[in-house]
Symmetry: C2
Subunit: 135 residues, 2 copies
DNA sequence: GCTTGACCTTACCATGATGGGAAGGTGCAG
DNA sequence: CTGCACCTTCCCATCATGGTAAGGTCAAGC
Protein backbone atom coordinates (compact mmCIF):
# COMPACT_ATOMS: atom_id res chain seq x y z
CA UNK A 1 0.00 0.00 0.00
CA UNK A 2 1.01 3.63 -0.45
CA UNK A 3 2.06 5.92 2.33
CA UNK A 4 -1.32 7.66 2.47
CA UNK A 5 -3.16 4.47 3.27
CA UNK A 6 -0.57 3.47 5.85
CA UNK A 7 -1.07 6.90 7.41
CA UNK A 8 -4.83 6.47 7.45
CA UNK A 9 -4.61 3.01 8.98
CA UNK A 10 -2.16 3.95 11.70
CA UNK A 11 -3.01 7.55 12.54
CA UNK A 12 0.60 8.54 11.82
CA UNK A 13 0.74 11.30 9.19
CA UNK A 14 2.54 10.60 5.91
CA UNK A 15 4.81 13.47 6.84
CA UNK A 16 5.81 11.80 10.06
CA UNK A 17 6.24 8.38 8.45
CA UNK A 18 8.80 9.91 6.09
CA UNK A 19 10.39 11.70 9.01
CA UNK A 20 10.66 8.52 11.08
CA UNK A 21 12.35 6.88 8.12
CA UNK A 22 14.77 9.78 7.71
CA UNK A 23 15.90 9.59 11.34
CA UNK A 24 16.21 5.82 11.24
CA UNK A 25 13.34 5.05 13.62
CA UNK A 26 11.91 2.74 10.96
CA UNK A 27 13.79 1.06 8.12
CA UNK A 28 13.70 2.57 4.65
CA UNK A 29 10.48 1.55 2.95
CA UNK A 30 10.49 -0.53 -0.21
CA UNK A 31 9.96 1.49 -3.37
CA UNK A 32 7.81 0.72 -6.36
CA UNK A 33 8.93 1.51 -9.90
CA UNK A 34 7.21 4.86 -9.49
CA UNK A 35 9.55 5.57 -6.56
CA UNK A 36 6.49 5.55 -4.30
CA UNK A 37 7.06 3.99 -0.89
CA UNK A 38 5.36 0.62 -0.45
CA UNK A 39 4.10 -0.55 2.93
CA UNK A 40 2.88 -3.93 4.14
CA UNK A 41 1.21 -5.43 7.13
CA UNK A 42 4.41 -5.48 9.15
CA UNK A 43 5.09 -1.79 8.58
CA UNK A 44 1.58 -0.84 9.61
CA UNK A 45 1.98 -2.88 12.77
CA UNK A 46 5.19 -1.07 13.63
CA UNK A 47 3.69 2.36 12.92
CA UNK A 48 0.75 1.53 15.17
CA UNK A 49 3.23 0.63 17.92
CA UNK A 50 4.95 3.97 17.46
CA UNK A 51 1.71 5.92 17.52
CA UNK A 52 0.57 4.25 20.72
CA UNK A 53 3.93 4.91 22.34
CA UNK A 54 3.79 8.57 21.27
CA UNK A 55 0.28 8.84 22.70
CA UNK A 56 1.71 7.70 26.02
CA UNK A 57 4.29 10.45 25.83
CA UNK A 58 7.40 8.38 25.07
CA UNK A 59 10.10 10.33 23.24
CA UNK A 60 11.45 9.21 19.90
CA UNK A 61 14.60 7.93 21.57
CA UNK A 62 12.59 5.96 24.10
CA UNK A 63 10.52 4.52 21.28
CA UNK A 64 13.73 3.50 19.56
CA UNK A 65 14.55 1.46 22.65
CA UNK A 66 11.02 0.10 22.91
CA UNK A 67 11.09 -1.05 19.28
CA UNK A 68 14.38 -2.80 19.90
CA UNK A 69 12.96 -4.51 22.98
CA UNK A 70 9.81 -5.43 21.07
CA UNK A 71 11.86 -7.26 18.49
CA UNK A 72 14.22 -8.81 21.01
CA UNK A 73 13.01 -12.30 21.79
CA UNK A 74 15.46 -12.57 24.64
CA UNK A 75 14.45 -9.30 26.30
CA UNK A 76 13.72 -9.11 29.99
CA UNK A 77 10.41 -7.61 30.94
CA UNK A 78 12.46 -5.87 33.64
CA UNK A 79 14.09 -3.75 30.92
CA UNK A 80 10.74 -2.67 29.54
CA UNK A 81 9.46 -1.94 33.00
CA UNK A 82 12.53 0.10 33.92
CA UNK A 83 12.21 2.21 30.78
CA UNK A 84 8.52 2.69 31.49
CA UNK A 85 9.03 3.65 35.11
CA UNK A 86 11.70 6.12 34.07
CA UNK A 87 9.18 7.73 31.79
CA UNK A 88 6.55 7.70 34.52
CA UNK A 89 8.97 9.52 36.79
CA UNK A 90 9.46 12.14 34.11
CA UNK A 91 5.70 12.52 33.74
CA UNK A 92 5.36 12.91 37.50
CA UNK A 93 8.01 15.61 37.44
CA UNK A 94 6.17 17.52 34.74
CA UNK A 95 2.81 17.07 36.43
CA UNK A 96 4.21 18.38 39.70
CA UNK A 97 5.68 21.41 37.95
CA UNK A 98 2.46 22.26 36.13
CA UNK A 99 0.36 21.63 39.22
CA UNK A 100 2.47 23.99 41.26
CA UNK A 101 2.03 26.68 38.58
CA UNK A 102 -1.68 26.08 38.47
CA UNK A 103 -2.09 26.21 42.25
CA UNK A 104 -0.13 29.44 42.52
CA UNK A 105 -2.15 31.05 39.74
CA UNK A 106 -5.45 29.81 41.11
CA UNK A 107 -4.56 31.25 44.47
CA UNK A 108 -3.68 34.61 42.93
CA UNK A 109 -6.77 34.63 40.74
CA UNK A 110 -8.98 33.93 43.75
CA UNK A 111 -7.50 36.99 45.43
CA UNK A 112 -8.21 39.13 42.37
CA UNK A 113 -11.47 41.04 42.34
CA UNK A 114 -11.81 40.79 38.57
CA UNK A 115 -13.59 44.09 38.28
CA UNK A 116 -13.05 47.32 36.32
CA UNK A 117 -10.44 48.67 38.72
CA UNK A 118 -6.71 48.26 38.09
CA UNK A 119 -5.70 46.84 41.47
CA UNK A 120 -4.66 43.24 40.93
CA UNK A 121 -2.66 40.84 43.10
CA UNK A 122 -1.69 38.81 40.03
CA UNK A 123 0.11 41.75 38.45
CA UNK A 124 1.52 42.73 41.82
CA UNK A 125 2.98 39.30 42.32
CA UNK A 126 4.53 39.26 38.85
CA UNK A 127 5.93 42.71 39.50
CA UNK A 128 7.69 41.37 42.56
CA UNK A 129 5.58 43.33 45.04
CA UNK A 130 5.56 40.61 47.61
CA UNK A 131 3.01 41.24 50.32
CA UNK A 132 4.92 42.32 53.44
CA UNK A 133 4.59 40.45 56.67
CA UNK A 134 2.70 42.60 59.14
CA UNK A 135 4.48 44.20 62.05
CA UNK B 1 24.91 48.04 34.06
CA UNK B 2 25.96 45.54 31.43
CA UNK B 3 23.83 42.68 30.22
CA UNK B 4 25.68 40.12 32.34
CA UNK B 5 24.84 41.86 35.58
CA UNK B 6 21.22 42.34 34.52
CA UNK B 7 21.14 38.62 33.80
CA UNK B 8 22.58 37.80 37.21
CA UNK B 9 20.16 40.08 39.00
CA UNK B 10 17.06 38.80 37.23
CA UNK B 11 17.79 35.16 36.52
CA UNK B 12 17.18 35.77 32.82
CA UNK B 13 20.19 34.70 30.74
CA UNK B 14 21.98 37.31 28.66
CA UNK B 15 21.10 35.17 25.69
CA UNK B 16 17.42 35.44 26.43
CA UNK B 17 17.56 39.16 27.21
CA UNK B 18 18.94 39.74 23.70
CA UNK B 19 16.31 37.40 22.32
CA UNK B 20 13.48 39.22 24.10
CA UNK B 21 14.76 42.45 22.63
CA UNK B 22 14.95 40.95 19.14
CA UNK B 23 11.32 39.83 19.23
CA UNK B 24 10.14 43.12 20.67
CA UNK B 25 9.11 41.81 24.08
CA UNK B 26 11.28 44.50 25.65
CA UNK B 27 12.40 47.77 24.06
CA UNK B 28 15.87 48.05 22.53
CA UNK B 29 18.38 48.66 25.28
CA UNK B 30 20.42 51.82 25.38
CA UNK B 31 23.95 51.41 24.07
CA UNK B 32 27.20 52.74 25.43
CA UNK B 33 29.98 54.03 23.17
CA UNK B 34 31.35 50.51 23.20
CA UNK B 35 28.08 49.29 21.69
CA UNK B 36 27.47 47.36 24.90
CA UNK B 37 23.84 47.31 26.03
CA UNK B 38 23.18 49.38 29.13
CA UNK B 39 20.48 48.47 31.65
CA UNK B 40 18.95 50.35 34.54
CA UNK B 41 16.66 49.77 37.44
CA UNK B 42 13.54 49.88 35.30
CA UNK B 43 14.87 47.25 32.87
CA UNK B 44 15.81 44.93 35.70
CA UNK B 45 12.33 45.31 37.15
CA UNK B 46 10.76 44.40 33.82
CA UNK B 47 13.04 41.40 33.33
CA UNK B 48 12.13 40.16 36.80
CA UNK B 49 8.47 40.45 35.85
CA UNK B 50 9.12 38.39 32.72
CA UNK B 51 11.04 35.73 34.60
CA UNK B 52 8.31 35.31 37.20
CA UNK B 53 5.69 35.06 34.46
CA UNK B 54 7.79 32.46 32.64
CA UNK B 55 8.17 30.51 35.86
CA UNK B 56 4.38 30.39 36.05
CA UNK B 57 4.24 28.96 32.55
CA UNK B 58 2.95 32.00 30.67
CA UNK B 59 3.94 32.02 27.00
CA UNK B 60 5.84 34.92 25.48
CA UNK B 61 2.66 36.16 23.82
CA UNK B 62 0.80 36.06 27.10
CA UNK B 63 3.65 37.92 28.78
CA UNK B 64 3.41 40.53 26.06
CA UNK B 65 -0.20 41.08 27.13
CA UNK B 66 0.70 41.02 30.82
CA UNK B 67 3.40 43.65 30.32
CA UNK B 68 0.93 45.84 28.47
CA UNK B 69 -1.60 45.44 31.31
CA UNK B 70 1.12 46.08 33.88
CA UNK B 71 1.86 49.42 32.30
CA UNK B 72 -1.76 50.31 31.68
CA UNK B 73 -2.97 52.51 34.54
CA UNK B 74 -6.54 52.17 33.33
CA UNK B 75 -6.51 48.39 33.13
CA UNK B 76 -9.28 46.31 34.64
CA UNK B 77 -8.19 43.60 37.01
CA UNK B 78 -10.86 41.57 35.18
CA UNK B 79 -8.60 41.52 32.11
CA UNK B 80 -5.66 40.22 34.09
CA UNK B 81 -7.83 37.64 35.77
CA UNK B 82 -9.31 36.47 32.47
CA UNK B 83 -5.86 36.04 30.95
CA UNK B 84 -4.73 34.17 34.03
CA UNK B 85 -7.74 31.87 34.13
CA UNK B 86 -7.26 31.09 30.44
CA UNK B 87 -3.73 30.03 31.23
CA UNK B 88 -4.92 27.99 34.20
CA UNK B 89 -7.34 26.19 31.91
CA UNK B 90 -4.47 25.36 29.58
CA UNK B 91 -2.43 24.07 32.50
CA UNK B 92 -5.35 21.92 33.60
CA UNK B 93 -5.61 20.49 30.09
CA UNK B 94 -1.92 19.58 30.06
CA UNK B 95 -2.07 18.16 33.55
CA UNK B 96 -5.03 15.99 32.61
CA UNK B 97 -3.23 14.71 29.52
CA UNK B 98 -0.05 13.85 31.39
CA UNK B 99 -1.97 12.32 34.28
CA UNK B 100 -3.86 10.05 31.92
CA UNK B 101 -0.58 8.90 30.38
CA UNK B 102 0.94 8.31 33.79
CA UNK B 103 -2.06 6.36 35.06
CA UNK B 104 -2.13 4.13 31.99
CA UNK B 105 1.59 3.47 32.24
CA UNK B 106 1.48 2.87 35.96
CA UNK B 107 -1.31 0.38 35.44
CA UNK B 108 0.65 -1.44 32.75
CA UNK B 109 3.85 -1.39 34.79
CA UNK B 110 2.03 -2.85 37.78
CA UNK B 111 0.91 -5.73 35.58
CA UNK B 112 4.49 -6.33 34.38
CA UNK B 113 6.50 -8.89 36.29
CA UNK B 114 9.77 -7.07 35.70
CA UNK B 115 11.79 -10.24 35.64
CA UNK B 116 14.22 -11.91 33.20
CA UNK B 117 11.48 -13.31 30.98
CA UNK B 118 10.29 -11.55 27.82
CA UNK B 119 6.55 -11.61 28.53
CA UNK B 120 5.44 -8.01 29.13
CA UNK B 121 2.00 -6.41 29.12
CA UNK B 122 3.54 -3.01 28.38
CA UNK B 123 5.02 -4.19 25.10
CA UNK B 124 1.86 -6.12 24.35
CA UNK B 125 -0.26 -3.06 24.79
CA UNK B 126 2.02 -0.95 22.58
CA UNK B 127 1.94 -3.71 19.99
CA UNK B 128 -1.84 -3.48 19.91
CA UNK B 129 -2.42 -6.89 21.48
CA UNK B 130 -5.41 -5.79 23.45
CA UNK B 131 -6.40 -8.29 26.09
CA UNK B 132 -9.50 -10.10 24.81
CA UNK B 133 -12.68 -10.10 26.79
CA UNK B 134 -13.31 -13.60 28.09
CA UNK B 135 -16.07 -15.71 26.56
C1' DG C 1 -4.64 10.25 -26.78
C1' DC C 2 -5.41 13.99 -23.56
C1' DT C 3 -7.06 16.09 -19.38
C1' DT C 4 -8.17 16.07 -14.64
C1' DG C 5 -7.51 15.01 -10.04
C1' DA C 6 -5.66 12.36 -6.42
C1' DC C 7 -1.76 10.76 -5.01
C1' DC C 8 3.22 10.67 -4.46
C1' DT C 9 8.30 12.70 -4.35
C1' DT C 10 12.02 15.89 -2.34
C1' DA C 11 13.41 20.21 -0.31
C1' DC C 12 12.98 24.05 2.41
C1' DC C 13 10.95 26.82 6.19
C1' DA C 14 8.32 27.48 10.59
C1' DT C 15 7.00 26.66 15.25
C1' DG C 16 8.71 28.06 20.99
C1' DA C 17 12.05 28.93 24.15
C1' DT C 18 16.38 28.07 24.95
C1' DG C 19 21.41 26.91 24.63
C1' DG C 20 25.97 26.44 22.20
C1' DG C 21 29.64 28.11 19.75
C1' DA C 22 32.48 30.91 16.55
C1' DA C 23 34.77 35.14 15.34
C1' DG C 24 35.78 39.37 16.77
C1' DG C 25 35.46 44.03 19.59
C1' DT C 26 36.03 46.49 24.45
C1' DG C 27 38.05 47.57 28.64
C1' DC C 28 40.57 47.01 32.78
C1' DA C 29 44.43 45.19 35.68
C1' DG C 30 48.95 43.68 35.93
C1' DC D 1 51.52 44.85 25.92
C1' DT D 2 49.27 40.93 27.44
C1' DG D 3 45.75 38.47 29.45
C1' DC D 4 41.25 37.99 30.87
C1' DA D 5 36.48 38.89 31.39
C1' DC D 6 33.10 40.76 29.18
C1' DC D 7 30.51 42.17 25.23
C1' DT D 8 28.85 41.98 20.06
C1' DT D 9 26.46 39.54 15.97
C1' DC D 10 25.51 35.40 13.43
C1' DC D 11 24.48 30.76 12.69
C1' DC D 12 23.07 26.22 14.26
C1' DA D 13 20.63 22.73 17.33
C1' DT D 14 16.96 21.12 20.04
C1' DC D 15 11.84 18.24 19.58
C1' DA D 16 8.02 16.68 16.99
C1' DT D 17 5.26 18.37 13.81
C1' DG D 18 3.03 21.02 10.00
C1' DG D 19 3.05 23.86 5.72
C1' DT D 20 4.16 24.83 1.11
C1' DA D 21 6.23 24.64 -3.38
C1' DA D 22 7.62 22.40 -7.56
C1' DG D 23 7.28 18.51 -9.83
C1' DG D 24 6.50 13.14 -10.95
C1' DT D 25 2.88 9.04 -11.33
C1' DC D 26 -1.26 6.93 -12.30
C1' DA D 27 -6.05 5.76 -13.09
C1' DA D 28 -10.59 7.28 -14.67
C1' DG D 29 -13.32 9.70 -17.95
C1' DC D 30 -13.86 11.98 -22.31
Amino acid sequence: MQIGEAARLTGVSAKMIRHYESIGLIPSADRRDSNYRDYGHHDVHRLGFIRRARNLGFSIDEIRDLLRLWGDQSRSSADVKALTLGHVAELDRKIALLTEMRDTLTHLANACDGNHRPHCPIIQSLAGDEPHAHH
